[in-house]
Assembly symmetry: C2
Homo-oligomer: 424 residues x 2
């Protein structure tokens, strides 16, 4: 970030709001000292020498003068690693525990020391690994979400699964609000759906990952994950923010949990949208998810029903996939061979085939196109819905317009465009 050697520190960037009277430099200094050694200027010289390695440092400060009375500053502070253990609860409590309650302040970015990062193997599969499980080396993947699940029994769920699978989707995910329940408990749901996957594969010739929702008590998550895998689950869905990033990290770094993990953003909207408070989406749904080991990360798309400003979306994309770890992740210099597998971005909510060219334009090939209503709502059913999406992906990759491609005998795509249109 700057010339000083920050390699032994993690760096947090904040946006701090104030008014005409705010002394942002003083504020930054008080954070750097207050969240590390507690007090500094009053310390005797000998004591300062002993404490210096613990002292937080203001790395950068940029003040923005507004038109009105409001001003803000972007402030970066380096926190020496020596002060906290190498886990995300410790880092987050250090850099934004008490500080989060100190007026209008938002955590905008994090950079990590190599030593801190070395505790995080990151995604076990990453983009390459997921592609290799599916045998799909290049094209954007297609994920579909069960439509209604609550109150449905096992045969209904299995049939729903099979219809989705027949459409050529690469991944099917549970609804994040499907918990252990008498109708479709995990020990019946997983075998039934994996059987449907096999049946569909015989017709489509295509592999499929089923991300089973991992739920229940925190201290039973590992056992529950292993049970799901023993039952045949070949992926997991996890509501990370309901359990904390450390739980994801522990699941992802457990060698016995040998399947990709898709991170669901449930509850994230309580944390990222305010300009004044909370945690920026690129940190919350980007860096922290990847560091903690999510192979795929869902987040609201800028196209559909649940909206997130596009620049925030692209910032998530960038950090999930970045190979420039020195710039994007590290506070100092990384070893040349340092690596962290990239995570698949999964922009979600309100996606229909007509939006696919936009997703491919904004996200490229390394993206998962994720749809629920846009698959199940197809007039030909879910299988036709999946095919419409696959056709839309093909069109986008060939640089052809959806209308043009549909007219070429791609009837499912045509039917989708007739209902939902094709975003221009």
């Amino acid at each position: 970030m700057n010339e000083v050697n920050n390699s032994g520190s993690c760096i947090a960037a904040y946006r701090i709001f104030g008014d005409k009277t705010t002394d942002f430099s003083k504020k930054a200094e008080s954070i750097a000292v207050g969240l590390t050694v507690g007090s500094w200027t009053d310390l005797p010289q000998a004591r300062k020498q002993a404490m210096e390695k613990h002292l937080g440092r203001v790395v950068q400060i940029e003040v923005f003068e507004g038109e009105g009375p409001e001003r803000y500053a972007d402030v970066s502070i380096a926190y020496p690693d020596i002060n906290f253990s190498r886990d995300l609860p410790a880092l987050l409590v250090t850099v934004f525990g008490k500080l989060s309650m100190d007026g209008r302040i938002k955590l905008m970015d994090l950079h990590f020391s190599e030593s801190f990062m070395s505790a995080f193997p990151g995604p076990k599969f990453g983009i390459e690994g997921v592609r290799s499980l599916l045998g799909v080396p290049e094209r954007p993947l297609l994920m579909s979400i069960f439509k209604s699940v609550i109150g449905h029994d096992l045969p209904e769920l299995k049939e729903q699964f099979k219809q989705q699978a027949l459409g050529g989707v690469d991944l099917i995910k549970d609804d994040e609000i499907l918990f252990e329940n008498p109708l479709t408990p995990i020990d019946k749901r997983v075998p039934a759906c994996m059987e449907a996957a096999k049946e569909a594969e015989q017709q489509t010739g295509q592999k499929l990952l089923y991300a089973v929702n991992l739920t229940g008590p925190t201290f039973q998550l590992k056992e529950q994950a292993k049970k799901a895998i023993e039952l045949g689950a070949n992926a997991l869905l996890f509501n990370v923010l309901a359990y904390g990033f450390d739980a994801l990290h522990a699941l992802a770094s457990d060698p016995d949990i040998s399947v990709p993990i898709a991170a669901h953003p449930a509850l994230a909207g309580a944390l990222y949208p305010s300009p004044y408070y909370g945690i920026a989406p690129s940190v919350l749904l980007g860096k922290l998810m990847r560091l903690a080991g999510a192979d795929l990360v869902l987040f609201p798309s800028p196209y559909g029903s649940v909206v997130m400003p596009k620049e925030q979306n692209l910032a998530i994309r960038d950090v999930l996939r970045s190979t420039k770890l020195n710039q994007e992740y590290a506070s100092g210099e990384l070893q040349p061979d340092w690596t962290l597998k990239p995570s698949f971005p999964v922009p979600s909510a309100g996606i229909h085939p007509g939006l696919t060219p936009w997703i491919v334009r904004d996200f490229g090939r390394d993206v998962v196109v994720n749809a629920g209503g846009g698959i199940h709502g197809h007039p030909g059913g879910a299988a036709a819905g999946g095919r419409a999406f696959r056709q839309a992906i093909d069109a986008a990759l060939q640089g052809r317009s959806l209308q043009d491609f549909a007219a070429d005998g791609h009837l499912e795509l045509q039917a989708a465009i007739d209902i939902w249109g094709a975003k221009q």
Copy 2:
């Protein structure tokens, strides 16, 4: 909440923001359906009968028309218990998972079914239990926080502990940013501090709880807690929001974790302050903390350095201590003998003795007065700082002014007033 029988549902209250065109009733209906059965009006009649027990219901809706273009509505929705497992991640993901990302919406309140609540024994000690451990049946308790801890070695920490203890404090808590570290790891820190507590008790004749910071990997928290207790720790401090409410619940309901737990609000400021997003403080730091089993809950006071509006503070106080569980907690009728121990409110940050009468006025006797700088910054040292607070508490209980009481030979209180004043 209303005449309909909601006993089989949990109820979430939201504030939803919109403009002149917003149809809040339609919005409320779409939430009630969308977060439960998925679709409703299109279902065949027979299907509706089968699905009705899963269907969310709009319980209440009140629209507020503003002066400007902004309008908002307070909306309550009942979610049938049958849809989710009896754990807080499931409840929170159901009622505010995807919905948190759906524009400007804030989770304002929660009411729970008896069946849901029955999975939560709540605080193991509560206010009575903590008082009984300390042998202090009536007066407000006094807690002190280590001053600087990072970079200090064991003898320094022990001496700091002892000085605090000698001042007559009832509880001493670790700083929430003190993690496992080579200088003062938990297996050295706990024995050293508990020895200091014993030495002080010989002089003061007073018992003391030491809340040790419970940190590190999620899946080792129970072992770490038990280790701390075996080493002599008689209370725990826990950064709940870094790990999720379910982790607190699991710790609090483990019979082997036989000490009070103090919940720290670290990271809470990322969630509660915005009027438009997040979770109201009375839910985040009130109901959920008590339900999950916190015996003491820290939160920003309205008096000191880290401010929270007073009505929000008092709302936290009310739900932490309420005995009106039917009104405050339940969605339906509770069994007459239903109970949930109350939690101690601990308004914190920037507290000095001159604020004590205000705390006692606003919180009564069942409060913990919590100070760091207001104890360590006393010109006579931390022991004198503690005594000044104890004198301030005595004055408040006797309804005497601090100045008057100080003039009666209470020199430590006089010295505190001389520095920090006495809030009028």
